[in-house]
């Protein structure tokens, strides 16, 4: 035994290389670090900071939302003549005249640009079958017009590829609105309603509609075969699918102010069938703020959370002042508090 010890301890001493680990703060896990702890001070401070940021933001957001003037008019029901209301689907699929007149009153002064939207509800543009039913390459360039695999069953007509193919394009929204104020037609500018990147890179300038809506069932709107896809902004807007079953799509913009009390007459063609699936159709006129459209939720939510934080900051402060307690109370370390510590 003793000789053994000697040999094993002397051997490494002879060899020049020691196995001693090199000291470094990293390997010894002693890197300088900040170790945040939730002391009452920090907690109160955090709550205060959040409330200080959130309350003003909430106020600003709420004001922004309040600034927005929005006119929403649901017309899907009203635009079906009373006698036809028993079977709206038959009406919409029938050949009768679909035009319909609506009157809107401007509640507050609306500054231009005023955006015109159609809003659909209970329409599942996000359904997987629907979302996938398109051919992006076909939309981009002419030479890919035969790439229609994803588009089934709206892929071809008698062997000739449909451009643009797929269910999305096929079900293009085709209600139209003609607006007039005091019998003066209001121009609705339909340029620039689609995202620029879509117009320039996703829809080809030399791709023209082909064989579109020529199958046995017509889905939705038709396209002007002489306009390239990149100019068909209605289509581009429609093809950027919505996230949720309730959505708005930009129809156009009015580039003149509307005064409070103005009455606007809308002559619309109620072509689009939402009656089959009990979908609602709404016409929306809205201005925008820096934050977008009208939605009070964000402002209210900011105010609420800010308020709660402020309240919590108060509660913690009071608790801290009323019953100051040593933080590192060693009694919390006691063994009796550790469940099962006695065993």
């Amino acid at each position: 035994m003793p000789s053994n010890t000697a040999s094993s301890s002397s051997a490494p001493a002879g060899s020049s290389k020691s196995k001693r680990p090199k000291y470094s703060k990293f390997t010894q896990q002693e890197l300088p670090a900040c170790k945040p702890i939730l002391t009452p001070g920090w907690v109160i401070l955090t709550f205060l900071v959040i409330s200080v940021i959130f309350i003003p933001l909430g106020v600003v957001s709420l004001f922004a939302s309040q600034d927005v003037v929005e006119i929403v008019d649901r017309y899907d029901n009203d635009c079906v003549p009373t006698p036809a209301r028993a079977n709206k689907v038959a009406y919409i699929q029938g050949g009768s005249d679909k035009s319909c007149n609506r009157t809107l009153v401007v509640p507050k002064k609306m500054k231009q640009p005023i955006y015109v939207y159609y809003q659909l509800e209970n329409f599942y543009q996000n359904h997987r079958r629907y979302v996938k039913s398109r051919s992006d390459s076909q939309l981009r360039s002419v030479k890919d017009e035969n790439q229609i695999d994803a588009c089934k069953p709206e892929d071809d007509v008698n062997g000739k590829p449909i451009v643009p193919c797929g269910l999305i394009a096929w079900s293009l929204f085709n209600d139209t609105y003609a607006l007039s104020k005091n019998n003066q037609p209001l121009t609705v500018n339909k340029r620039g309603i689609a995202w620029k990147s879509d117009r320039e890179h996703k829809f080809g300038k030399n791709v023209f509609p082909k064989n579109f809506q020529e199958g046995n069932i017509t889905g939705g709107g038709r396209l002007d075969a002489n306009k390239s896809l990149s100019e068909q902004e209605d289509l581009i807007v429609w093809m950027r699918t919505a996230a949720l079953p309730t959505f708005r799509k930009l129809y156009g913009k009015i580039e003149s102010d509307l005064e409070k009390g103005d009455t606007i007459h809308v002559t619309l063609l109620n072509n689009y069938n939402t009656y089959s699936f009990d979908g609602k159709k709404k016409l929306v006129l809205s201005t925008t703020s820096w934050l977008g459209g009208k939605n009070d939720f964000l402002g209210i939510a900011y105010l609420t959370v800010g308020g709660i934080c402020f309240f919590l900051a108060l509660v913690f402060t009071i608790m801290y002042l009323v019953k100051p307690r040593r933080l590192g109370d060693p009694t919390y370390l006691s063994w009796n508090r550790v469940p099962g510590g006695g065993r």
């Binding site: 196995k19 170790k35 939730l38 599942y124 997987r128 939510a301 060693p330």
Partner: protein
């Protein structure tokens, strides 16, 4: 040293001759008749190597070969349920069922598999390097014509004749032919095989003894028939046919690969088993692969997640089936835009049930994001790095032996934080197996100023002078009153003389005189005997010769003051046994006086004193108790003068008893000795310290304070076991000892002493008589249901190490066997403290936090997908772009969590050691209880719900930006994804308690990487980026709504958890929290205050020296109360 070595060898050589003559007769045994039958069919033509029939000598320890690497490692990978699931998902993603493109499913899987394969490959490469080194060693091989040339090990073939030199390993299993000794013996060290350190003697056959020169092998020709390769190390059957004669071969001639030639200049041998056929390779079993408790639990969580995935998919499938069926009923289409009349099977209303089944599969794929694909690989990476930290820990590096800690497996790091019971080997682990004479009590006066280790530990801080290393090994006694012959001037000089003489005479030690220096060393059965003799020598009674009948001692003559040699005739030795607990010798001194000298345990000795011999009994008893409490082994020394008649009667009786053949012979002898070992006169007591390893009491104290139970398994005598229990502060004198004797045929004793005075069901400290370590370990493991850690250093501990949840090997001196079968090797017992309390605690925290967080982040992500899917009438439309989906686990959330697993610390190492209470978090599994896991999951669900609904409401249908454009699917997905990335990153910030630059880099980096990815990916042509094209640059970034929504959603999602933690920290802090607060408040700078606080944190331990101090305090208090 060299001289001593030579001397010793010579002596051994003589012994070997004795041995050779007595037992090495070669003879045929019944087993030899089986040669040639099945199982005994090997045929070896010595000196005519043939490689045709048998394998070469290449030993492979690698897991894979170049060819098998790919299939085998892939197979290993996909055996994991989660990986298999992802493989199925990957395959399914090529079908139209897939809600996303195939690439996005394959990429993360490939990444994960590749990462693991690289890791496996690197590990195997290291093994390969080792193999190459081992197989490339050289050995002398007979090349014909009596020439021996060096050849590589791997080229050896069966039948080769080898020449192996001193201190070389045998490259294959050989039959010993001849050696440098005439009688063809050689010494073999088999430490690597069985861990035994003593050398084994092997001897070649007589017929081959004469082949002692290289040239002798020119015409050597023999033919060996023997058994087939098998794993039994201790059996070998074969015959050697030489010149037409058959000679039997036995294990005596077999030299095994893995053992080493010692003390023999060279040997010649014939190779009979090569490479994989060698016994050591045949015997090597895959070490049982151990998995930590946390990992086993993690599997359960994964199954739970599967269950959840399946049930969510099932729910979705039903609802999808219902809505799909309504699309086309009785020829009426509802959602006409889906063309339900002309549909594929996946969406066909007319086959709605089938569509639902298909949907179920798709949903399984979409929900795969619930299951963290990178969990396994992340954990593996983390554990490897954790092991590196363990290996690199400078505080666990043992300077003297140049040995750092070595984590041999990385699977068990976190298990180190959960150890409830430590099973320790004694010898070599707790103690150095060297005894030191420290104190004695003679004639009622205590001598010896040496400080024992336990005292040193107790007096921690009371400034003991640095205990100088004893000059003489085994002697740590300092007292000027009796050293250097001063004892003559003491009061009871005659008693002291008798005492020392007894020490010098009453033993069975054999002295060995070094011829060169004249120094005497002693060979004793047990180290404590040697300690006595050494003590006697150092105090002036040098024992120097033992013959069969005499003992000679040089002693100080009181009268003349000079040194005289005295010879004592040893008449009888009444040996020690654990039942007798004493030994005596009967000697006749030069004056012709008959003396019975006796030493023994206090329990048997005091009752044997004569009435007149009890002069110092009370003082001696006090001293003995004191010594025992100081952890020393005590013996009572007493003597008696015999008169001739009495002795004659005794000799008669004893020879009668010895010659009796009846079964109760032992009892008869006992009876006789009993009669003579009485009426003794007390001389005093000795105290010997079983030298503990450095820092053992301190370490045990800390472990006990951490609430870890400690068992010592030992094969010692019961008294020794109890003594060592005292020495390690495991036992105290006021504890009630429960001693259990197991009367099995082998009379194994199981001794268990527990504590009754505080809480009955408190921890039981046990000193166990060894049954088999392995068995005990299993018993403890199943009995307590706790994680057990076994620590040992010898080959006899292998069973224990493998059986325990964690085996820790001491990479000390007893060979490598324990280390090879351990999971973690440390150089000293005391490093266990740091290993458990610091590394164990950290690793446990890290891994458990990491796993919880993993599930949290994936649930948060996966459930937003599910919620969104619910808003697409369960058509499995993913909310996010394919690449966002696939890169979530890989890119945006993986590094922070890995960092958490590698670096996080709740408190620094110093505080881990200072507050052992922290360790209980692991033992009680507070951080990985089902409650905690489920709350993390619940937290994930809550976060997902908050994120989804807040996003949905804020981004409803109104315009998203100033240009009046509403948010589409791309914007919605992008915003929600941003929120998820922020939320999981901030959650990480709240979870991490240790922020170094790395953490900052990684956490904030993940968020930045997400924005960068969004930008870069969005800038790629639309062909690549599909619906993510320009989303960030064009739509998200310029819109204040995006930023303001992100801010709100993220903050609102974090709020509940933040409030929860704030409240918890304030009112229900966990231990680590409190300690952090303590540190924050700087209470730790005031030592007094700190001690006060620390006390509260310490487990009211019943063992350890702290407890001992407490006990002493208590007893003092009691005596004061009862005193007046």
């Amino acid at each position: 040293m060299a001289g001593g070595e030579r001397k010793r060898r010579r002596r051994k050589l003589q012994l070997s001759k004795l041995f050779t003559l007595s037992s090495a007769k070669a003879c045929f045994k019944p087993a030899h008749s089986q040669i040639g039958r099945t199982g005994f069919s090997r045929v070896v033509y010595c000196n005519q190597p043939e490689s045709a029939d048998y394998c070469d000598n290449y030993v492979r320890t690698t897991k894979y070969t170049l060819a098998s690497f790919l299939p085998k490692s892939l197979f290993e990978q996909f055996r994991r349920v989660a990986n298999f699931y992802f493989l199925v998902v990957g395959i399914l993603s090529f079908t139209p069922l897939a809600p996303y493109t195939a690439v996005s499913a394959i990429v993360p899987l490939t990444f994960v598999i590749l990462a693991t394969m690289v890791k496996e490959g690197v590990e195997d490469w290291r093994r390969k390097q080792q193999d190459i080194e081992v197989n490339g060693r050289n050995v002398g091989v007979h090349q014909g014509n009596g020439h021996f040339d060096l050849k590589e090990w791997k080229t050896l073939r069966v039948g080769d004749i080898l020449k192996v030199e001193k201190n070389d390993f045998f490259p294959a299993d050989l039959v010993l032919l001849s050696s440098s000794y005439e009688d063809a013996v050689c010494y073999v060290e088999t430490m690597n095989l069985d861990g035994e350190t003593n050398l084994k003697l092997k001897q070649g056959l007589e017929v081959t003894m004469s082949l002692r020169e290289e040239v002798d092998f020119r015409d050597f020709d023999a033919f060996i028939k023997c058994e087939d390769p098998n794993a039994n190390l201790y059996s070998f059957v074969g015959t050697m046919e030489l010149k037409g004669e058959k000679h039997p071969l036995s294990p005596q001639q077999l030299l095994l690969r893995g053992s080493k030639l010692r003390n023999t200049d060279y040997i010649y041998g014939a190779v009979i088993f090569t490479g994989p056929d060698t016994k050591v390779v045949q015997n090597s079993t895959e070490p049982p692969s151990k998995r930590s408790m946390i990992e086993r639990k993690m599997d359960k969580i994964i199954y739970l997640m599967f269950l959840m995935v399946v049930s969510l998919a099932f729910l979705g499938a039903i609802l999808f089936g219902i809505t799909t069926r309504e699309d086309y009923q009785n020829g009426v289409m509802t959602r006409w835009y889906l063309k339900p009349d002309d549909s594929t099977v996946f969406f066909d209303p007319q086959r709605a049930p089938l569509a639902a089944v298909c949907h179920f599969l798709s949903a399984l794929m979409l929900n795969s994001y619930f299951i963290p694909i990178s969990l396994y690989v992340s954990i593996e990476i983390v554990k490897v790095l954790q092991s590196i930290f363990i290996n690199k820990d400078i505080h666990m590096y043992y300077e003297e032996a140049d040995k750092p800690a070595l984590a041999r497996t990385s699977n068990l790091n976190e298990e180190l934080g959960q150890v409830g019971t430590v099973l320790s080997d004694k010898t070599g682990t707790l103690t150095c197996n060297s005894m030191e004479f420290v104190k004695c009590s003679i004639a009622g006066r205590a001598y010896g100023r040496g400080v024992t280790e336990v005292e040193m530990a107790v007096g921690n801080g009371i400034e003991y002078a640095v205990a100088a290393e004893p000059v003489v090994k085994g002697f740590n006694f300092r007292d000027e009153r009796i050293m250097n012959g001063n004892w003559v001037k003491e009061r009871d000089a005659d008693v002291i003389q008798k005492f020392l003489r007894l020490l010098a005479v009453c033993h069975t030690v054999i002295p060995e005189v070094n011829e060169d220096t004249g120094k005497i060393s002693y060979e004793a059965e047990s180290p404590d005997e040697a300690a006595f003799v050494i003590a006697a020598r150092e105090l002036g009674f040098e024992f120097f010769i033992r013959t069969q009948t005499t003992v000679s001692v040089r002693e100080l003559d009181v009268a003349t003051g000079g040194r005289v040699e005295r010879m004592y005739k040893v008449l009888n030795v009444l040996e020690f046994s654990s039942a007798r607990k004493r030994m005596s010798v009967i000697v006749r001194d030069e004056d012709g006086k008959l003396l019975l000298l006796c030493k023994g345990a206090d329990s048997v000795m005091f009752e044997r004193l004569s009435g007149s011999g009890r002069d110092y009994e009370e003082e001696t008893r006090d001293h003995v108790n004191e010594y025992a409490d100081a952890g020393l082994r005590t013996l009572i020394l007493a003597y008696r003068e015999l008169d001739e008649n009495e002795y004659e009667v005794f000799t008669e009786r004893i020879s009668e008893a010895k010659s009796s053949v009846s079964a109760d012979r032992e009892a008869l002898i006992d009876e006789v000795t009993e009669k003579i070992e009485k009426d003794l006169v007390l001389l005093g007591a000795t105290a010997v310290e079983d030298k503990l390893q450095n820092g053992v009491p301190d370490c045990i104290d800390k472990l006990a304070q951490a609430g870890i139970k400690i068992w010592v398994l030992t094969g010692d005598k019961m008294e020794t076991a109890i003594n060592i229990g005292f020495a390690c502060s495991l036992l105290r004198r006021d504890m009630k000892q429960i001693i259990i004797n197991l009367e099995t045929p082998e009379i194994q004793q199981l001794e268990k002493s527990g504590e009754k005075d505080v809480i009955a069901e408190a921890l039981k400290e046990n000193v166990l008589r060894q049954i088999t370590n392995g068995k005990v370990t299993r018993l403890v493991k199943t009995g307590s249901g706790q994680t057990t850690l076994a620590i040992g250093d010898g080959a006899n501990d292998v069973g224990m190490l493998q059986e325990a949840d964690i085996g820790v090997g001491i990479s000390g001196v007893e060979g490598m066997q324990a280390v090879m079968s351990s999971d973690i090797a440390i150089a000293q017992f005391r490093y266990l403290e740091r290993l458990l309390l610091v590394h164990g605690h950290w690793c446990y925290r890290r891994i458990s936090k990491m796993i919880c967080y993993f599930f949290y982040k994936n649930i948060t992500f996966g459930f937003t997908l599910f919620l969104y899917e619910a808003y697409t009438s369960f058509s499995t439309t993913p909310a996010y772009n394919d690449w966002y989906l696939s890169l979530y686990s890989v890119l945006f959330s993986s590094l922070p969590v890995i960092c958490l697993g590698i670096f996080d610390q709740d408190v620094s190492a110093r505080f881990c050691l200072k507050f052992p209470v922290l360790y209980q978090e692991g033992v009680q599994n507070l951080l990985f209880s089902w409650r905690r896991i489920l709350s993390w999951m619940f937290h994930g669900f809550c976060s997902a719900i908050i994120i989804f609904f807040l996003c949905k409401t804020t981004l409803e249908s109104q315009a998203f930006n100033h240009q009046g454009k509403p948010a589409g699917r791309d914007i919605f997905g992008g915003t929600m994804y941003t929120c998820v990335v922020w939320v999981v990153s901030l959650q990480m910030v709240l979870t991490i308690s240790y922020f170094t630059v790395i953490q900052h880099l990684v956490v904030w980096g993940s968020v930045v990487v997400w924005y960068l990815f969004l930008t870069v990916y969005g800038s790629m042509p639309p062909r690549v980026s599909t619906d993510a094209y320009m989303v960030f640059l064009e739509a998200l970034a310029p819109s204040p709504a995006y930023w303001i929504t992100t801010l709100f959603v993220v903050m609102a999602t974090m709020m509940p958890y933040f409030i929860f933690s704030a409240v918890q920290m304030q009112f229900f802090p966990m231990s680590h929290g409190t300690i952090k607060l303590l540190k924050y408040e700087d209470q730790c700078n005031d030592p007094g205050e700190l001690e006060l606080v620390r006390q509260a944190s310490v487990r009211p331990a019943l063992v350890g020296f702290t407890a001992r101090i407490e006990a002493i305090k208590r007893s003092v208090m009691r005596s004061r109360q009862t005193g007046p």
